[in-house]
Amino acid sequence: MNLLHINALNLHIGETPILDDVSLRIEKGQVFGLAGESGSGKSMTALSVMGLLPKGARTSGTVLLNGNDLTRKTEAQLCQIRGRDVGMIFQEPMTALNPLQCIGDQVAETVRLHTRTSRTDAMQVAAQTLVRVGLPPERFSPKRYPHDLSGGQRQRVGIAIAIALKPKLLIADEPTTALDVTTQAEILDLLKTLVREEDMALMLITHDLAVMAQMADQLAIMKNGAVVESGKAVSILRKPQHAYSRDLLRHSVPHSKRKKRPILDTKPILEARRIVRNYPMPRRGLLDKPSVFCAVNHVSFAIHAGESLGLVGESGCGKSTLLRTLLALDAPQNGDILLHGAAFPSRTGKELKAQRRHIQMVFQDPYGSFNPRHKVARLVAEPFHLNDQKITPAQQRDAVVHMLERVGLHASDANKYPHEFSGGQRQRIAIARALITQPTLIALDEAVSALDVSMRAQILDLLADLSGEMGIAILFVSHDLSVIRTVCDRVLVMQSGVIVEEGKTEDVFTHPKHAYTKALIAATPNLQSALNAREDNGTHP
């Protein structure tokens, strides 16, 4: 008998069909991967198993856990099963823990809820579980609160909550998507060890096929609420049968049409000279001098015309602070920024406007950076206030339409609101807004990180076209090494506020010199090498 057997599961929320005839079998001690793009129904499948579907959900079909149909259980019975027989880990470790409760209590709550144990005994189980997930009490007291911990440490607490009672089935919904690559590698390792040692089954949901190649025994690929292909993970990833699986696999490694260029020996567009940006820390005593946290520490570099420069580093390394300083949104304590040879930001308002026209920005979350009450035409035309001469509404309109068509949207889209677009289309609008002042440099801050792989491929192609035709320099800030590797001519690696390595992209990736760069590259999941490694293990057990 299978541990979990989902049979012909259909799900509607209101009138919208969400899942269409989903069938899966998961066995004990197995890692079952569920892959697909956003909106494909991966998470909804998991929530159906937990019985935690949103309001208005109607299901048909069966979800058998050890032969018991979960769809026929009452809410009270489901409460007994959740946390005891099925544990779940979520994507956002930063918000998944109660900020007002210490971590020990949060783990102990699972124990006390399902077993008749005293508070002290439950705390003891919690302490042991925290050790099990790599949070030993000498460094991570169970009395600590979530805000004291990093994202990876919080995800470990989330895992501890889920495994405290050694459930038979563990569901992990994008458990490492919000984490840095080195942390991701550690968490995946932990999950693997737990599955092997506790003989649990793991349902692993992720959009990242390279992670699947490392982890999954069985794999199912979902699209629009249906499973399009399922079977042994290695064989699907080696020889996908369904056209959609092939697409997904092809896009999982970013490609770019962009030709790598030699660094032109011209004057730089933007030059940073020994930039320092400190933040004051809270004072210890009433009269103590506040200490400082150095987010950017004497950073120097230059970007040349038409060049694509990558800036990589993990969260908290100072990338975003550096970017804010470069865009003159934040003043550095020390150092100079030169834009086309002149100090940036200029002291005179008129020159500053001209300078701002030269640098534009695209952010990670286009939805958050658009005023939801404005139409696209107004959003894209926003940077026109940087122009010296006033232009007529008709000219403005023409320029907006031209730019929308340039980024692959339609003229009629100008009259829509941002919420009417998909994530990829919104990112196109953001690019149109950035290009409308005809800048010489665009800075992209994690601009493709929130997109599905097929969308990501389209946006990268668009950027390649634009930089090729318009000769715009690109500053690409990302934690994603594979994207940086495809789109950038040169790369800067940043750690703790310092540029630790700099060079041509291929040189840095093939012969990394700094230990940190090596660690980053090693931790980045790679589909091919993961598959090769597993086949080697398979032939030599």
């Binding site: 809820l113 809270p282 009433l286």
Partner: protein, 318 residues
Amino acid sequence: MTAWLARRLLSLVLTLLAASVVIFLMIEVFPGDPAAFMMGLNADPAALASLQEQLGLNDPLLVRYFSWIGALLQGDFGTSYTYRVPVGELITQRLAVSLPLAVFALILSIIIAFPVAIFAASRAGKPGDTLIMGTTQIGIAIPNFWFAMLLVLLFSTTLRWFSAGGFPGWQAGFFPALKALILPALALAVPQAAILARIMRAALIETLSEDYVRTARAKGLSRGQVIWRHALRNAMIPVLTIIGMQFSFLLAGSIIIENVFFLPGLGRLVFQGIIQRDLIVVKSVVVVLVFAVVLITFLVDLAYVLIDPRLSKRGKGT
């Protein structure tokens, strides 16, 4: 935590000092001659001069300010111009009515609002929630003096359970005094409870959509358990802010209710002080109320820190 407390206390003292300067300027300097104001248009020049002398108005401003503050620090509020008794005594008597009334009304407001909010939030969008939220709208819309009169009509005139007004004093015994405060406290509490319930419901509903609530549900907690163990405490931050503001309002703003029920409270004292142009009384009551409001704000801040461990970290340093 100690450093945080020290800093908060320092800012408390500075706020009070700033407030005292503003009160001094507003009452003694900007309107012109306080003595002339207190004696009215037809004042006898000799009497006016003697009052000016008595109030120390002939001294320079700074001297006047510091002698006022110095006296305040020793508990000396001056002597009332109309009542001819020390203002400190007057305020103490009136506070003995106003403070218990405010506390009583606040407790009633919380007792009504909390269960209502929890009930409504756990049924958000369902008919029970809609009915309750509609009712709270009415609660907010009703003027409290009118509601007070309805209470008097029902409980005093018709049912004769309570007297229609007056206060026997605490020397008449705890329960008779408390009984006299029930109707006024209820009249004050109901509109406040309606506001509090709406805010708390909104805070709870927002908290219930947080990721950690989903984590808690995945542990096996039922919807009800999630509210009690996780959502309620997280929703307390906005609720505490409102409770603090409501207490300040109840202490200072019960003038109308005190008049409806003939209660000798602080509100009526300041009201009479204004009518009789007794600036010494007005100034002193305002100082006491400002002190109370600043103190309450401080206590609310302290409560935030007790509820939310993230806040005390800021003060501790890392």
